[in-house]
Point group: C2
Chain length 594, copies 2
């Protein structure tokens, strides 16, 4: 089975050499997060991921979750691992110190999330969903709800879920039917069926806090009549202890392609007692806060799986002897050369590597802006950072999950037939990664969010938060000869992105289907351009340190940057052509002919 | 669960309208294969696939194969289905009438293979491997071997396998260790371990004929010391009945990502009795005959799965109501519009469709040349057709399996969360399709075969068999205004392919790693160009019939061709750039840094 080692060297490069991790301490509330504090957190996270979570990844996939007599059980070892995880304070990592959290900056937390997802994506779903519930209550709940629920979500004795989807509606939540009827004591009775509820029921915690979208009796139709409710599995007593079971049961669990150790439940709410979170009929707004953080996290899930797949493929390719280098035997002392001598194997490994390292930098770059948005003393800086985060969130979600799936699949290919066999663990990465392109808004929906909401928002204000710094960087770097092999292709891709943006805006204004037809290719073009910007900056950073490179880290970074420019960025040209071709060939097709 | 209907209308279009199915009867031995004969074969094949094989696809995946007390069992229903399949004469379809076969032309047989793979890829493995064994014995066996084994392989009472891979060698067969020791009676004792043996053991037939690569005691080292042996599971008696069990046992079966109803065995040969097939030490040559046919079939496996995935996705998209068209509600009478109104859903469906229909045309086009190669009375025409087949085989294998996997994955995406749930059957297509990129030579090996063997072969003679007709067609069509939207992008892609070919030849001559670095992207560029040629010809054919199009078949064909040109063919530009960038960024990367 493939092993996993947290890529701490690269994470520190991203944090402190590429980005501005050292400036975190300048943000109010982050004063304590010096390198001396952050590095041990990353190291300890790497340790629990490699030693506790990853060894359960394969066995969890084989065993899956079970539902018997109304009780959902996670695979062997998950409860013990969760207890260690919780006792280590990992559930509290990114939470508000006012409720027992450790207040870790988002830029650091996103790296911890990556490690958890590399080690065991299914396991990560449980604390991940709890974090979503925490954020909804923290952001929108009344103080009494916060006081009652947040400390338990933070210390991990209780878990959480997000209950959105119903059998007849996933993407289109306007159709949802679950009802909430107000009671005299200020609570509500919630009735309805929710499907695809991740971590919907399990045996890791004594209680589960469901955040449920439902309609009040007087709700307007559609998306503007949805409210958010907190519905605990077990109703807490006044003294904080556990009271009676609530009217929510797990009707069944889904049998899925992957993330089999994550329970995916059909939950039946029957007159379940709940409490309103936020304002009546404004549930979607509260849900979106939560969903934006979750979308970042799902992108990073794809990244995490791709990193693990890269490690598995690289380890195999270094050791497996098969064939000889086309240019002559490299290891005549052995019966055959290792796979790494073959150009096509290198192509696959470098594609995985360039994806993973680029996406890590992108996620951390956006997370740094989350920190600025939350913590910067200047409201204008907060707004600018917030604009950037809003713009980039759908890109991170879709690009990282698409590249994550592609990277996982390349990992299988490097192993050949052995990659297809379950015991090697590589095919699981493909199955696990596949969900990240779907949930938290399918990637096509992310693309529509980008072209339909984020581009036009505030007359393009968000867009400028990406375009201005990239444009300025290109201009400033144009005369740097060492950087030309990177800046030139970046500039070409960026010009294409600018033209495609104008085209999407213009054509979409006249006919919204044109924006829809361009959306997915446009998002990928945008994402590749963002990666090109970061790869250029990474190359610049690494080139500056080329003279002090005992372990070859910087040389590998520059070589990977070249590979990205030579062999991956050309995709931007194809995406540009596809966007510019317009949507007629899609929209004219007779529906009856499908 | 997704259903399957054989795409007979499109198959007839490819056979008789696009290609020269009506000319089959002009080839010696094919005189009887008029439309009146062929159409019922296709219809009956479609029927058994839809009614017998497809209903076992999901259940076979869930149950898988089992090994108990040395006996391998296929999932419930497989034996009954196989008996029906055999009794219907389907195992004899493409075989030599001299041994009881029906001698169906390859161009028709490839369509039948597609249907079987759409309906139940795992099931198709059993007769598929038998066909491989049949071809090896038919092409290289002594007459006595043929007389004894072929009638049983043809009538399907016995099955076959191809035993190549060993634990330490897959792609690099030069490393193989299985030994064959000659006996006084002219037989051999075969000893060794073979892994990944598809259909290696099962309960469908009373005997299994293993074609085994092994070394004779005096064999030269490496690939030139390999011989091919026929090793039956049960040794036939002189009278043709079954004698004693031979020394071959199934040590274990693999647990795989997909094709779970196909048994994949570790076979142990211990002094098993075998007979030489062909010449000593020339086993690889015999194996390659078989492998070329198998490679075509594996490509078509990918196509078949992609067709089934397209059908499942299209059916879902037509019925699932979710959201409203961006340009305003299309079905205000319903609570929401069907998914087919959304441009991005159309993008996915049309990508699937354009892939599938293009690949079907490509496979049939190559298969037509197989027929010409086998049957044409003029030796020069046979050679030219053979050159074309040799050139295109690695492209069909790699392109169709890659697009097959991508199409299957798009099918999941169209269904969203429901696609990820096992009961819908869509995720199985992804898992099943994934193997087609790996076995019968991983796709990277196909790419090396193309650039390393097929391009330089006979001073580029094979290459001209593609380049000349495409070039002539473009020239002849340049003034056809109706065809301009198709010919122009085809010409552009073709120019790129020509330039890339020159570059690969030139750079590869100087440094073979350059050819290796370009290979995969070059193969895909070649494949896309071939699809562009066929899509242009399909558009031309359909445009000519636009006035008599009651069911909209030709209109849909033209629209799909436009989609291919607008939104898929631009990839050729990116692939061209990647090829032209050269391999330095791959080969310079320090191996230790992986």
């Amino acid at each position: 089975m493939a092993s996993y080692t947290a890529p701490l060297r690269d994470m520190r490069f991203v944090l402190y050499e590429l980005l501005e991790g050292d400036r975190l301490t300048g943000l109010p509330g982050y004063e304590d997060f010096t390198r001396d504090v952050i590095d041990p957190v990353l190291e300890e996270a790497g340790k629990i991921c490699a030693e506790v979570l990853h060894p359960l990844n394969r066995s969890g996939d084989e065993e899956g979750c079970t539902l018997e007599n109304g009780v959902v059980r996670t695979p062997a070892g998950f409860k013990t691992a969760y207890d260690l995880f919780r006792d280590g304070g990992w559930t509290a990592l990114a939470c508000d110190p006012a409720y027992g959290g450790q207040g870790l900056p988002a830029m650091v937390n996103i790296l911890v999330i990556e490690m958890i997802c590399s080690a065991n994506l299914s396991f990560g779903m449980y604390p991940g969903l709890s974090q979503g519930a925490y954020e909804a209550v923290h952001g929108h709940g009344a103080q009494a709800l916060k006081d009652r629920y947040l400390p338990r979500l933070v210390d991990g004795t209780w878990a959480g879920t997000m209950c959105l989807t119903e059998p007849h509606c996933g993407t289109d939540l306007g159709l949802l039917r679950t009802k909430a009827v107000p009671q005299e004591d200020g609570s509500y009775r919630v009735t309805g069926t929710k499907i695809f509820i991740s971590a919907g029921d399990h045996d890791l915690t004594e209680n589960i806090v469901h955040l449920v979208l439902a309609r009040l009796p007087d709700a307007p139709k559609g998306i503007k009549g949805i409210s958010l409710f907190l519905v605990p599995k077990v109703i807490p007593r006044e003294d904080g202890g556990l009271g009676p079971r609530n009217g929510v049961t797990c009707a069944s669990i889904e049998h899925k392609m992957g993330i089999k150790a994550s329970s995916t439940c059909v939950l039946t709410f029957e007159d379940a007692t709940g409490w309103l979170v936020g304002t009546p009929h404004k549930g979607m707004r509260a849900m979106f806060t939560m969903m934006n953080a979750a979308r970042m996290a799902v992108g990073v899930q794809g990244l995490g799986v791709a990193e693990a797949a890269y490690q598995g493929a690289a380890a195999y390719a270094r050791e497996r002897l098969q064939g000889r280098a086309l240019s002559g035997a490299k290891r005549p002392d052995l019966p055959a050369d290792p796979l790494t001598v073959h150009a096509d194997v290198r192509r696959m490994l470098l594609t995985q590597r360039a994806s993973v390292e680029g996406c890590r930098a992108l996620a951390a770059w956006v997370a740094w802006h989350q920190d600025l948005e939350m913590r910067h003393p200047d409201p204008r800086a907060r707004q600018e950072a917030g604009d950037f985060v809003a713009l980039m969130t759908p890109i991170v979600k879709a690009l990282l999950s698409d590249l994550g799936f592609e990277g996982a699949s390349l990992g299988v290919q490097v192993l050949g037939g052995h990659g297809y066999i379950r015991e090697h663990g590589m095919e699981q990465y493909v199955r696990d990664a596949r969900i990240t392109q779907i949930y938290e808004g399918a990637n096509g929906v992310q693309a529509l969010d980008l072209v339909g909401r984020k581009l036009p928002a505030n007359a393009g204000r968000s867009l400028r938060r990406f375009f201005h710094p990239v444009s300025a960087y290109i201009e400033a770097s144009m005369d740097n000869d060492d950087l030309a092999p990177f800046v030139m292709p970046l500039a070409k891709a960026f010009t294409r992105l600018q033209q495609a943006t104008a085209q999407v805006a213009r054509a979409g204004m006249a006919n919204p289907d044109e924006a829809g037809a361009a959306a997915s290719d446009y998002l990928r073009l945008f994402g590749l351009t963002a990666l090109a910007f970061l790869w250029t900056r990474m190359a610049e950073t690494a080139l500056a340190k080329a003279d002090d490179d005992p372990d070859g880290f910087y040389a590998a970074k520059v070589a990977t940057a070249r590979f990205f420019m030579d062999r991956m960025l050309p995709q931007s040209g194809a995406l540009f052509s596809a966007v510019m071709a317009g949507g007629a060939s899609m929209m004219d097709f007779d529906e009856a002919a499908f």
